[in-house]
Symmetry: D2
Subunit: 462 residues, 4 copies
């Protein structure tokens, strides 16, 4: 399972050019996407954009500081499946429309793009890439409203799915979340500027303080140094993706007032209560399993330890391993600490299981390293349904939990016992009302109705 | 004065992938544009494009051969003024429209882009770059016709100015020239393929033979291995840019059955008849003045020689000279052969004079090298009017001949005598009817009416 | 404090080219150096090298596989101070000498280079870069011995300091450790090859099994598919750098039969016994402080948790923060989890303190995040003396513990209490005899006498 | 036949940093080598070098101006055969020796490198690349003299062959030519600096005036703002490579007071006298055959014209043509002007014939273009012997004139007649005493005895 994108926006009251702030903000959000990065800036006269493939510190250099001088800025980091990995899909996208220049950056996944794209093509529009952002920009520019704000509302009435957007015009900065608020987006403030960020860790790095989350169906606009809010949709329930709590967001971020770290530790504690087992050691699958493992250890009284070391230099441009190495599989990324697990009954905690392939290899690694028993504990429920709103997951056919019984999974993974956190306890761990979340991958209750044709597709979301 | 763009297209009957042919074709057309290069290819299923800044052999490498495998291909080399020099404007442009993927490459300059762009923006379209090609593509995709060919005709009814276009769809290749045929475009054939090229030198390099020029107002389409022709406009006179004969096209190319080289030699001969002078030596301003200087020498009986050596490695990324060097001016590109000109009466032949700045420096160089007399002869008439159809020339205020008398120019250039070829003799030298040419820069007779607002602009054409 | 270099070597019995193994081996050793990477390969006929600035997966690509085809190979990853950061100093170095081609890669730091360099210059040699490796290569090539092995012994009699070397000739692979064995180097084996690696994690990744550590003063040579050992020095005590145990080596590696991870957990346990304190939470400074923090928590019974999140994308080419951000300091790399520490008495465990600057900022971060008390615990003794054998440390004047009392340090760091692990307990934690280690930075007992002039230098080691 | 290298040196009296002058000087010498470029600079304290593969304007950028700030500088452009094309062999080479830093740049080819290299290896030196420069540097550093000047003399007593060298130390600039003066090197002066350049066109571009050529066996040293001369060898006859006059040097350069352009025009005139033929047109093989063709036309009274157009964008990184194109051969570089040659008796003038392959293809091109007769005239004698001093020529077995009679060559080339300039007339054309030249490739009289083993080698000179 991989991350979605990250967006960032800033509107400076003072003369300071906000480039550095966006740069560092994106750097803090880098875990949400490593494929491409981009920043668009307005100096109130015109709008410029720079984007490229790679990490934030590969795309920008000292020259960018001058080239992207301005007063308002947005930025984007992108995660993408290999298929559509190219510069045409990098964001922010910048267009020249009848409303003047408009730049936008998107985190999420629309579910009615095919229909919208067809309609627009029939109206005579054409597309250069395949990104949702280009489609969203086209929907704005084809509005018949006279002002950009109304044109954006027009567009919002057409698109369906998950979206947290930041939009830049020559003189304004707009941020909004879809009617269900599936992806997060927060408002912060420094002495000199208003700031938007997918996660609050983007505020911390530039010394901004958190003001509040944008609500589902809310659009916030900053213009002439003032911020206004507008509700564009209030007939939908909130449905924040629970996987932001389970896995996506950085543990030092805060969503809806809840610490990601604390929530995950709680998941581990409830997991220990639900699925206790006698063992010598609790270890995480690094890095995502760490807080839940800490929670499990704390609740169970079984010592916490490291059992697997992750190579922190794993990157994109990799020479393929040969046949012998491929059989070593996950070992390129993870190596067991033999002395830590040898002869021990080990509880290994991971945040989730999608296909089960990696988990199976991890169990094999631990047993080869001498673990006498391996008990797998998962700090989320069984994933039974695919996601259509922006997670790079799989078709139902590939989801191990959708196809095997608990015993079947345990056998496939070759574990001595297996336990998933219940949905009930997951929600308790986060300590927010269940109805505020999208839990569709667990309970099949999709907040936005998904077109039938989409359900049969092989899904690779971004 | 600098070159316009070059376009190339190929439709292969056989299984051979035409990539290499486009590559070499563009290489032969490289003199028409060095800023960016691009190739789009269809394998009948989908269309791919690769483009980049720089020369053909910098943009493509061995990997391109596999990435651009197909059956139909178009290519482009671009010259551009600095202002709009960026990858967004590189061609071919590729869009996904209701007609499927469409790629196109353009040589020329439209004169009603501003109005068209406004209209399209009002209809809801937006633009990423500033190139004519993106506009042309948008006009195709917004047609309400049911097939791509009719949509192209629709577009042709809207655009005004100079254009030679090659257009690629999934299964067809289209080439066409504007109603006046301002820019050249020819049809050739190999054993395996039909070929289009801005100049016939693009045929020679791949062993294709010339069939005929495309006519003004003619569209040629190849589909299902067959070529058809269609006249989309027949109410306009032909008006080929005479500067293709004076300067742009390579001397080994042939347009309208006339050898560029022979035409230029003839210009030199007529120039010798019109403006004879006693002298010891005829030298060209390399490289464009060579054929006319040869003609002048031949007609006058005065020996031909070299007097200025051009550094053939002059390129784009140049460290600025310091103050002392700047006073040396044109010497970085041109160096006089002192022993060849010292104590001699020298006739120096150039193809044209725009602002006069370079000519003045050349005269200074020759006098410092010891020439006792310098007689400037120009193988084209005085440039009195700006071009709006694709030459990077200047406003009227910058055109020296529009502002000074012959004596005034001679004095500014510090020459002992000065002679321009008459328009009458220029046409005789080319040996085609005068009415087949656009001679607007000499005689103010613009084949396409130019909007008034455009006439007042500072013009940088591409 | 930063890492030293990593070396790797492989001698294949079979026809398999060992390139991929070196590539992955270096990838596992990447934590020892990120500045440059290189691989040299012999196919028994000639030797080729490829090296470049950056990470292993930035320097090599698919083409390297063919270019570096062979039977024997060595590789290197380099850490360096900025001053000498350039391609001339990248390794392996490859020379053509009277013994034929010789490539070598070095981990460590010589202390008599200045004298040796002078002597060689007097003999007429010259140098292109400033690396120890170039000097070592020159000492080999200037030997008057008739064979390369004796020439290497000759060289070993001249150099002083810390060195673990792998050397490649046309038909042999040699590995050796200095008379004190200051840097580690181990022997491993796959079905097809002998392998040398700075750390055993380099064996795990390619499926090799560990055979033994090379001894101090031992040279191991593989030729004609056979391995021989030779003692070139046996009058010096073993003196392995204790910092390999404290910080350098990866926790999943094993040195002298001792697990790095277990040793570090033990350090934390002894630290808890020596410096107990009432508190709510034990947190590590990530990543190096994790095992000791786990040990501290386990021993003390105080819960273990995360309190600081490290941005895993911190890299080299960084846009400088502006003034406001600089005041945020370490926050770019580390961000506190407010909800985890707010209102709590926190024990923060780090592996060592050099200058104290970073520790001070971490304490400030935690207090601002609301920690009611911060107790710093350090899993190594006070660093009182500079290192001359390969650690990027500082002059004595910069070492905080060499200049302030315990109370002074605690005050500077603004902690509520401060405790260092005693030397005695450090050694107990590793569970190897004290005399097998170099502990000079703690106890001033340098295993190799350091020239006086060197002691007064500002030291930047690599 | 391809060019040798170019060297440049400058010593500034004033505070101006000479970087730009070297940059432009190398730019003027670019025709002598396009593989790599480099500049070394001393600011009297230390010496820095920057070098890279490619053209001068690809290797250096604005940053270089600051990085290479100083008072004394040397530069180099390199031509090389593919085999040894790599950055290790780029120049200037910079070493740190007992004499301090020494940088040097070399034009020429030594003939006793193998012996010298062996001797030095026996003494314990080793080599990183295969260039003569690295060897020359090693010979300097191994001298037992106490000062650098004497060490250079020492080195000069050992090396044999062709060399024009510029050498930079911390505080001096040295330039010298081998005892025979096989390669050119001249002294120039600006208001602010002394300048050395392989050709005088390097002076013209920076506004320096020519003072004199360095003599064979002369060393010129500039130190403390003063220039001294020293004869290090006076027992050898001068033997300037005649090919500098025939082909290498730029036509606007002057050597030994003789204009290259005038000399080549004279060669054409003598050629017309020696080998007259009735014809309609004299055309050059561009660009090297132009001046001789002008001379031939002038003398014979037959009109001069262009018949072949050379693509000026031919470069290094070229996609290989496919089979069909390969049969087109030289057409990628040269295209005939059909209308200029059709039905005509054409005299085609080239500067020399080495293997004959290209000439043969040119004749074929012209005949296919319709030339009724093709008469080949060569402005140099038959090349009968290989060159060992720096020209990229061929073994005797490959030299067409060494293996076929005049009739045989004419038949191979398929020309209607063939005429070579006689040695006697070549010398007359240059108008300098025959004994001042190396004419070995024509008359087997090698000024420096060539080792027998070298004579049997396949030679690729640089």
């Amino acid at each position: 399972m991989r991350e979605a994108c990250g967006v960032f926006g800033i509107y400076s009251f003072k003369d300071d050019s906000p480039f550095r702030d966006v740069y560092y903000g994106l750097f803090a959000l880098q875990h949400r996407g490593q494929e491409s990065a981009g920043i668009a800036v307005s100096n109130l006269e015109d709008v410029k954009v720079q984007k490229g493939m790679g990490l934030v510190n590969q795309v920008f250099n000292e020259q960018s500081i001058n080239q992207l001088h301005g007063k308002i800025a947005i930025g984007h980091v992108r995660y993408s499946t290999t298929g559509s990995s190219n510069i045409e899909n990098a964001q922010p996208i910048l267009i020249n429309s009848k409303y003047g220049p408009v730049a936008l950056a998107h985190n999420g996944n629309l579910i009615n793009t095919e229909d919208l794209r067809c309609e627009l093509k029939e109206r005579g529009l054409s597309f250069i890439g395949t990104s949702d952002s280009e489609l969203i920009a086209a929907l704005i520019s084809t509005s018949d409203k006279s002002d950009i704000e109304s044109a954006i509302i027009d567009m919002l009435n057409k698109i369906k799915g998950a979206y947290s957007l930041v939009i830049l015009t020559k003189d304004s900065l707009i941020a909004l979340r879809d009617p269900n608020g599936i992806r997060p987006l927060s408002i912060g403030k420094t002495e000199n500027a208003y700031v938007f960020s997918s996660e609050t860790c983007g505020f911390d790095i530039i010394g901004a303080h958190f003001i509040r989350d944008i609500n589902n169906g809310e659009l916030v606009i900053i213009k002439d140094n003032e911020m206004r809010s507008r509700i564009f949709s209030n007939d939908s329930r909130e449905a924040l993706c629970i996987f932001e709590f389970i896995y996506f967001a950085r543990p030092d971020s805060i969503i809806h007032g809840r610490s990601l770290y604390e929530s995950r530790v709680n998941m581990g504690k409830y997991l220990a209560k639900e699925h206790p087992v006698r063992a010598d050691l609790v270890i995480p699958v690094p890095e995502s399993g760490i807080p839940a493992a800490i929670g499990y250890a704390d609740e169970s009284g079984i010592p916490y330890g490291e059992g697997l070391i992750k190579n922190r230099y794993v990157g994109r441009t990799f020479i393929e391993p040969n046949q012998e190495m491929r059989s070593l599989g996950v070992r390129i990324k993870l190596n067991p600490i033999q002395d830590a697990v040898r002869g021990k009954k080990v509880i290994v905690v991971d945040d989730s299981i999608v296909r089960g392939t990696t988990s199976r290899q991890i169990v094999k690694l631990l047993k080869e390293a001498g673990a006498s028993e391996v008990h797998m504990r998962v700090s989320s429920p069984k994933i039974l349904n695919p996601c259509y709103y922006g997670i790079d997951t799989a078709t139902r056919a590939e989801l191990i939990a959708a196809n095997l019984s608990l015993e079947g999974i345990a056998k496939y993974l070759d574990v001595d016992s297996l336990g998933y956190l219940s949905l009930n306890n997951l929600v308790k761990a986060v300590a927010l009302p269940e109805k505020r979340f999208c839990l569709a991958c667990f309970n099949d209750d999709y907040p936005v109705k998904v077109p039938e044709k989409m359900q049969s597709l092989k899904l690779f979301f971004k």
